[in-house]
């Protein structure tokens, strides 16, 4: 564990140095957040039919989305792409580490550093100025934290899988473009899943992506009854485990190809 923790913490420290990037990212996200709030504002004004989420909930949901955008906004890990392209990925095997855990740790740091840097100021700014509300009770707040950590692990499992897929696609350009947009929709980042038509709900509820956004955000809003939360966290954990196993299996095959065919 010590080895992998060291990888995470070194990378965290490195990423936390990039304050200018965080600040620019923060500015952009405030801007986009305002635009999204205006769109929902227009939508709620134009309808009289009762909606599955109140306008106030949607506003808070939007700002949560801006705070935790890194949970879905990912392409492939850029230094892994670099290594696979140049063939130097073989040298990763020189470390006395399990390669999957090594890459997963790296991804954990890459996700969590910007998440911390952006979420905290976003809560302050959106809470004070843009009508973002706190969770309805302490129980929801605690469960939300748990679900967010779960979402972080799920996001890391997915990004690690995406990085591993580079063994076959090499450039990763295509995937790096398609996957984030798909995940943004399927996770509920663009439009909250309760606002989707009923025919789409079954599929969306089954897919892993709701565990990234829909589950933690709606727990925060108190939109999910307490007794229904455990099965959702279980859904999130099971998908994470399944994707980790798939990633390990693919990496074993990819690394075999590499060590048999050469870097």
């Amino acid at each position: 564990m010590r080895a992998y923790w060291a990888v995470v913490s070194a990378r965290l420290r490195m990423l936390l140095q990039y304050r200018a990037v965080a600040l620019a990212g923060f500015g952009t996200q405030v801007f986009w957040g305002l635009i999204r709030v205006m769109i929902f504002d227009a939508f709620y004004r134009s309808t009289n039919a009762p909606q599955p989420m109140t306008y106030e909930d949607v506003v808070t949901y939007v700002w949560l989305g801006q705070a935790f955008l890194v949970l879905i906004l990912w392409g492939v890990e850029s230094d892994i792409r670099q290594m696979i392209r140049s063939g130097t990925v073989a040298y990763e095997l020189l470390r006395p580490l399990d390669l999957y855990t090594f890459w997963f740790s790296r991804s954990l740091a890459t996700r969590s550093a910007p998440m911390l840097l952006r979420a905290v100021p976003m809560f302050v700014v959106a809470g004070l100025c843009f009508g973002m509300r706190p969770p309805p009770s302490l129980a929801f707040a605690v469960l939300w934290v748990i679900a967010t950590v779960g979402a972080l692990f799920l996001a890391c499992a997915l990004t690690t899988l995406l990085s591993i897929s580079l063994f076959w696609t090499i450039s990763g350009e295509g995937l790096a473009r398609i996957v984030p947009s798909l995940v943004a929709i399927l996770s509920g980042m663009i439009v909250p899943l309760p606002l989707f038509p009923d025919w789409a709900r079954d599929a969306l509820d089954f897919l892993p992506f709701r565990g990234l956004v829909d589950v933690p955000f709606r727990i925060y809003l108190g939109h999910i009854p307490l007794e229904e939360i455990a099965p959702l966290l279980f859904h999130q954990a099971m998908w994470t485990a399944a994707i980790v196993l798939l990633g390990r299996w693919m990496l074993a095959r990819g690394a075999r190809r590499l060590v048999v065919q050469g870097g």
Binding site: Q17, P96, V259, G262
Partner: protein
């Protein structure tokens, strides 16, 4: 028991072949042709603990393929290989935690981190006990004079500074075996001998076994007692540097500085290789004429300012060895 035992190692790569032009590209989509390249064609050698071995050959000879197999990151097609009593690719993690690797062309340090943090991180990755780590680190910092570099991010280091840090990084976990790939690349004339001296001490005092691949023949001459020469996937020669010399050519060189700028030296037993102003380079076969006799004859006939006898440099020997094996 040998530290490294390699027997009949064969490794082939499949390389996709593309016919040139548009037509070729289209045909390649339908049916891809592969050419098999034999990177290693039955290599056998063994290395005893404490040896300092030079492993040399031209680009594409199979040097780095061998090193990758020994480090467990490449699986051979056939043959046996044991490093530190283990089959490297079957027990990769156990094997790599006891070897150190330096690639002159690429760094193993973290580009954005200060050197000292890369060191700390490596100490954790190799699970070195804290006290041992601190001792090893302080010793290496002192020996390689790294103190002023420790707080500098790696990307700001010059090639020579980075190289020294990389060498230190490869030794933090006190490996018993060290692979060095072009370790003196980018070092200036002052640092090169210092690094060589360091490697020699490491080998003599701590008994670290070193395998060195390099294009710098001075490294070989200064460091290696044994040289393995590889070409086209086969071992062309394996033995002491002196034996290699003796096998390839007995020839010696006589360099003469004449008083007269355009003086000619014509001697039946010595051939002129080239001349640079006053300086004439001759080669002779010591079996036909002794150095003393040749010098006597030349000084008797010509006005000589200075002269000295020399062995052909190792580059020359290797070049001839390749020449021979390819004929």
């Amino acid at each position: 028991m040998s530290l490294i035992a390699v027997e009949n190692l064969v490794k082939t790569f499949r390389v996709a072949e593309h016919a040139p032009g548009m037509w070729g590209a289209l045909r390649g989509v339908l049916r891809r042709r592969y050419r098999t390249v034999r990177a290693l064609d039955g290599i056998s050698f063994s290395v005893e603990p404490g040896e300092l071995v030079g492993y040399i050959g031209p680009n594409g000879a199979g040097k780095s393929t061998t090193v990758k197999i020994l480090a467990g990151i490449l699986v051979p097609d056939s043959g046996r290989c044991e490093v530190l009593g283990r089959v490297p690719w079957k027990e990769r993690i156990a094997t790599v935690s006891r070897i150190g690797v330096v690639f002159g062309q690429r760094t193993q340090l973290w580009w954005d981190l200060p050197v000292i943090e890369s060191f700390d991180l490596l100490g954790d990755i190799y699970r070195v006990p804290k006290a041992n780590y601190r001792r090893a680190r302080d010793e290496l910092v002192a020996l390689l004079d790294l103190e002023p570099l420790l707080d500098v991010p790696v990307r700001q280091l010059s090639l020579g500074q980075r190289m020294r840090c990389d060498i230190a990084a490869s030794l933090l976990h006190a490996p018993s075996l060290l692979y060095l790939d072009e370790p003196t690349i980018g070092l200036d004339a002052v640092l090169k001998p210092a690094v060589r001296e360091f490697l020699l001490r490491l080998n003599r005092e701590r008994g670290v076994t070193v395998i060195l691949t390099t294009h710098d023949m001075d490294d070989i001459e200064a460091l290696c007692t044994r040289v393995i020469v590889i070409g086209q996937g086969r071992i062309l020669s394996d033995g002491a540097l002196e034996d290699l010399r003796a096998r390839v050519t007995r020839e010696r060189w006589l360099i003469v500085d004449l008083v007269d700028a355009d003086g000619e030296i014509a001697d039946p037993d010595a051939a002129m290789m080239r001349r640079e102003g006053y300086r004439v380079h001759l080669r002779f076969d010591p079996d036909r004429i002794s150095a003393a006799a040749l010098i006597n004859r030349i000084t008797a006939r010509h006005a000589v300012r200075d002269l000295f006898v020399q062995n052909p440099p190792i580059e020359e020997i290797i070049a001839r060895l390749y020449g021979k094996s390819w004929q």
